[in-house]
Symmetry: C2
Subunit: 321 residues, 2 copies
Amino acid sequence: MAIRPAEQLIHKAAWLYYAHGLRQDEVATQLKISRASVAMYLRKARETGIVNISTSTQLFTDDVMARQLEDAFKLDSVWIAPENAYVADPSTDIAVLAASVFLELVKKGDRIGVAWGRTVYTIADIMSYADLQDVRVVQLCGNLGAPYSYRPDQCTMEIARRLNAKGLNFYAPLVLSTEALAQGLRAEPVIRDQLAGISNCDLALYSVGAVDADSHLVKCGALTPTEMAALRKDGAAGVIAGQIIDANGEVLDCGYNKRVISAELASLRAIEKRLMVVQEDSKFEPLLAAIAGGLCTHLVVGAHMAGRLLEHAGAASKKAS
Amino acid sequence: MAIRPAEQLIHKAAWLYYAHGLRQDEVATQLKISRASVAMYLRKARETGIVNISTSTQLFTDDVMARQLEDAFKLDSVWIAPENAYVADPSTDIAVLAASVFLELVKKGDRIGVAWGRTVYTIADIMSYADLQDVRVVQLCGNLGAPYSYRPDQCTMEIARRLNAKGLNFYAPLVLSTEALAQGLRAEPVIRDQLAGISNCDLALYSVGAVDADSHLVKCGALTPTEMAALRKDGAAGVIAGQIIDANGEVLDCGYNKRVISAELASLRAIEKRLMVVQEDSKFEPLLAAIAGGLCTHLVVGAHMAGRLLEHAGAASKKAS
DNA sequence: AGCCAGATTTGACTTTTGTCGAGAGCCGTG
DNA sequence: CACGGCTCTCGACAAAAGTCAAATCTGGCT
């Protein structure tokens, strides 16, 4: 930086423009700089989170379906992204909504747990900036040396960056070769502390993975397609923070899970607000499992998925009566 | 309304524009309306609080003086509005800052106590809109049939309106003719409930009044200039929510106070966040009294007042040592 | 001391946004 | 059923904001 015109000026410009409602040229006069500079400062102010522009997500919870889902599945809050009613790409729409919801749920001083996946990374990527200096973003599970850009640590750091918060990474692989090694690593002070700290989070953000050959676990080489198929037969219903869960949302008793370094489900359940975001329609079963396991209190889904969930709930209650 | 283009469309437009970042003409195409309408919807969205534009007040607390004041007076947070560095009118600057700070302190589900005065009304007047449906704004003291536009109930209602919140008014006069009548009225269920509810507030917003002929209490006819002068001799140092306090921030033992219907200071102190805003430099003594009485945890003042406070604190500590 | 590299600032230009008055649709009323 | 009154909607113009390449400045380095 030349002479750090930075912060101070950016803040002043943002203040005059957004809080006092002056025009850019008036701000320029006040600050004795050119209007072009003001425009640039304002952009920086938005990018830094010095100014916050947020739109209420009310409408998406006010939906009738959303209310029904909340009742049917005993969730605190459900947001439904209307399908193809809005912008072109439906999955982007869900991510944009999720990002808004997320920002609405975050409070100063919060500790936030973040898992990993394409969904989470997409959200991080389109999330607008905020200025939450005292927030901490912690990684919920170990890393994979994946060729992808949405590795667990990347998700964590990107979200921390957007929030202007501190990111706490997890310095361990997600999956180890042997159970013994995993146990040993879990006992390491650094890792143990990190794992123990997860239940202190105020908010968690994750998606749920499908149990098929397309799963990231397979793509990253943590499991072979054959192993995955076998797990599926043994009752695997979904993937949460790198762990395989059964249809009841409990950790599946399998060799793989024993080799994983990740947040215990009990720790996740201890987090007050658990925001789950599901983009793909194919993740119906996994989502049901996650909900059954109480792994989600706040839910963001597309209209189609919402419909399927309601249908399912309706059928279930009919069967019961 | 023609066919209620309302809410729904406004929200959609705001969503596409602010959350997705489309241009107005793109939004217009999507929604199949003219761009001019989009522009109008967006204005409404801002006015309704469907979109929120807020600028961080960080810089004003990061100030060295602010930190010193926090330490010297044991306050949670202090914001200092730079004098004549910014926009023309210094008192407006303080109000704009106060409004931002206020909005930053409000949380969903909060109960907010609001007193009255020119300062409070100015803040309400320039405060931007927000969408906090489950917030309640309660009036901290009785009303005066003043010719002014900043009557207690007006302050309360205006703030409630800006927040899209529910306003709870106080249906009693601030001052009665006799102590007996005041006592009787305080015992009335409606009034008693309102008074009792004050300590449940999460946030209070008020200023402090001066004890002189310019006081609102005099202008509104609650006290004559002569009475005011007499009270001053008896130790009156300031006015909080219509009550006279002494230099220690305690209720002054006087006939006037016994005839007032207002929040007890103990109730005010029970409120977690007490935001006090002082615009006029002449309110130095009253402010000191209010701080001494623990009536303020968060403070917004101008740079000049901040300087005087620090000077005072320095002198006091020097005397002590 | 002089020069380079990086970043900021600026003026001029283009694009985007705000606003106004006119026109059109809807509703309750006479 | 025609008539204001009302709001919403649109097109066109004016104002404001965004952008880019060139000019300028800074501090560090040789």
